[in-house]
Symmetry: C2
Subunit: 481 residues, 2 copies
């Protein structure tokens, strides 16, 4: 009988070939084990609330009131909600036409986009235009939309860091483009060497690929580094020379754990470079409510800001956004609250500062506990997490382990991570899901388990790892590299 | 200078060529006029809350509590929330791991998918498997995901009704496939003639196109008809003969205004047909929280159910969904509430019934007022809205009006709708945005303006239309058809 429309053999090949390791084999196995009753520590995805991080109180109060606007007329409302949350809910409702149940403009509510522009102006010290800011259902949706606008076919290439967050490889596969990798230098704390970039572009060109855009993830995912101002300037100059759009994944800009390495936006660096470049280089930068001390992943809120993008292109992006009618409105309110948090003097200010600083301080400590923990393990080395939410240790697998893995039909780091999962319940993502140099192995874990659980988790990891290494090391000849 | 990556000339041609009239030229002009201070009646999009429909109280109470779970520990909570809303909020929070701020599984919360399956079982009288139900950010996202799974290139065709909701034409363009139109019969109350389908498929085949799926919109958008059981059986037989996946856009299944024409799901009709067909024909059906008496458009919640789709394909769809991590969680709760509303005996039951019946009753009246209003206008004929939220009158434009429009560089119905907008503030969508037979013109309007405003709106329409016809009719020879 002829195959039917949704039989596997007839599907879009781009759908079949794309891969997304963050919810790949390891996650699926972890979900199975959880169903069987095993306690799983899900560190595969940056999902803070799932690991016990409490939501910030003030924004949740505001959004709850926006969902139930009839409470604003209830004489008892002030027993449950502070006056500034009530005022803020009224403010956001006044920006909608019909509350949270009405589609907004497909770019998002104009009033929230204005608040985003004001936030960017305060952050960078340069003007930002709300007409060039689109709200999205999480940053990922924005990234996919922009890549879809750029990619025409397999001869269009996108420069992507390796290791990378696999949204990029997956989206490029799905859209039928080509991923052009550039390697980050692990020995230079995952820094970006412009010579590597040049080589990557030259190689791609020799294969007939037109490189059209470059992705940076800053702070890095999975690598945790913060790009320096000098490095960002080099990158922008490179984009100018090579005629590339810079796609700045800046979703971890609030997740900074080292004072001497602050976050600097690509747009600010570009504006600091002045004319003519500041009017020439095209940037799209992405942000989200899912990260930072917010961690409101489940709400799916994000934005992108376009710099030096022609209006005709902005109109095309608007048109495509309009096919999905509008990003979800509650998350637009979260975005407004994120870029316009309580101010000194507001009733909720102290609480907001206490909660948000508490989260960042704790993440900073956890980054340290985790890095130190990994570095205390046999055959494991790990750069410090300067930013973002991940630790990306290198696991120096003994040749015997590599051999056993290959015989079992597994990529060696997948083999290691599966063994780790079965032994300890720790659900990580193998480095091969992000890309890594040949013969080098990693895993990615979030730094999100609760601070008080962290020592036990790291002890459990160390016990597993050191026994694993003991089992597979060739004591006759193999030595630590 | 060489064009840059996001310059218009270098963009993905599929992005440039797709069209979405619901937010096209008319909407953009209406937005401009609104900015200039003109009062606009936005009937271009089915967005009930934007036109004053109040949200249902109980679901909003539950979601507000889920957003602010700390209220559940507040001794005053029962002053603002009824006990069943509190209990239901606790229930939904227990289905998440980490509340609304945590990503769910990429298919949606298992507990909500189970509630959806139970709803489908009650509706159709046949089993439904939660593993084959995926929650989505609105139905549109689900439609796009399934079309993306099917379409491999321009030689893959999708049968789409004409007139159609332009999500389909836009998504097919964007994905690089081919739209294969089949015409609905206006004179048969927008019924579907299987002979038309056969002709469409034959014509497409002669052009080298492989027709792979067929879209039905039931109840119809923009056409408002409800497909009969007999018609659905014919359609399913046709899909079997032609080896097509049936994509059932059933988002208006609660919007039914004529008792003798109830909604029947395509899945129920298939199951009623029994073996072997009930195990053979592939169906994906779509639903949403945006329509019905809910109208929670801004929340962006939907689901699709897959019938007879192989597990390997389901896994591919799951993988692609996982790239976007998860549909927004608050709207998943709305979906749970929609499929599992208050029951007799619950504290909120009476209020829920009063509110929801009030909305449907009023829509039923408005459908009648609008149809009658259009039919009272010169050169306008309009089928009754049996279901959905739209009226789709045919506007019989005098040849002189067609000529003037063409000289002004406008499609004639666009010309008419723009004139209507400028004269009355009524923002509609021209029939050409949905597709129509050559030389025949329509407009789509929602039936959503408040019941009390409806007579004035229809009077304003009639005044404009009859003056327009007076202006352009050739009194020497032209007569009403």
């Amino acid at each position: 009988m002829a195959p039917k429309g949704l039989d596997h053999e007839l599907l879009n090949e781009n759908v079949k070939k794309c891969q997304y390791a963050v919810r790949g084999e390891l996650y699926l196995r972890a979900s199975e084990l959880q169903k069987e009753g095993k306690k799983i520590i899900f560190t595969n995805v940056g999902n803070p609330h799932a690991l016990g991080q409490k939501p910030l109180t003030f924004p949740r109060q505001v959004v709850a009131l926006c969902q139930a606007p009839f409470l604003l007329d209830d004489p008892n409302v002030s027993l449950l909600f502070p006056a500034d949350a009530i005022a803020r809910a009224k403010h956001y409702l006044s920006l909608t036409s019909g509350g949270l149940g009405a589609y907004s403009d497909s770019r998002g509510l104009p009033g929230v986009r204005k608040e985003v522009a004001e936030f960017i102006e305060r952050r960078d010290g340069y003007p930002s235009d709300p007409e060039l800011i689109f709200l999205t259902d999480g940053a990922s949706k924005g990234v996919m939309q922009i890549l879809n606008t750029i990619i025409r076919g397999e001869w269009d290439g996108i420069l992507v860091p390796v290791p990378q967050y696999p949204l990029y490889s997956a989206a490029i596969s799905l859209l039928g483009g080509s991923l052009v990798p550039y390697y980050l230098e692990e020995t230079a704390n995952w820094g970006l060497d412009i010579n590597n970039l040049r080589q990557s572009v030259a190689l791609a060109r020799s294969e007939g690929i037109t490189v059209r855009a470059m992705v940076i993830i800053n702070p890095g995912n999975p690598t945790g580094q913060c790009l320096s101002e000098a490095n960002l300037r080099e990158i922008l100059n490179f984009c100018f020379q090579e005629n590339l759009v810079l796609l700045g994944d800046e979703v971890y800009q609030q997740n900074i754990y080292q004072d001497e390495r602050p976050f600097i936006s690509s747009k600010k660096v570009l504006m600091d470079m002045g004319l003519p470049l500041s009017k020439e280089i095209q940037i799209v930068s992405f942000h989200t409510v899912s990260k930072g001390y917010w961690g409101e992943c489940g709400q799916r809120g994000g934005y992108f800001e376009m710099t030096n993008i022609p209006l005709k292109t902005v109109d095309e992006i608007y048109k495509v956004a309009s096919i999905s009618l509008s990003p979800n409105v509650p998350a637009q309110i979260f975005m407004g609250l994120m870029v316009n948090p309580p101010k000194p003097g507001d009733i909720s200010y102290q609480q907001f500062v206490r909660e948000s600083e508490g989260i960042i301080e704790s993440l900073r400590k956890r980054a340290r506990i985790m890095t130190d923990g990994f570095n205390s393990c046999r055959n494991v080395v790990c750069n410090f997490t300067e930013g973002a939410m991940y630790s990306f240790p290198q696991i120096r697998l003994p040749p015997k382990a590599v051999e056993v893995a290959r015989k079992a039909g597994k990529v060696p780091d997948v083999f290691y991570c599966l063994r780790l999962l079965e032994a300890t319940g720790i659900s990580t993502v193998p480095g091969s899901g992000f890309g890594q140099k040949d013969g080098v192995f990693h895993l990615r874990t979030t730094i999100l388990p609760a601070e008080e659980d962290m020592p036990a988790i790291m002890a459990s990891f160390k016990k597993f790892n050191d026994e694993f290494m003991e089992q597979y090391e060739d004591h006759r000849g193999y030595s630590r590299m």
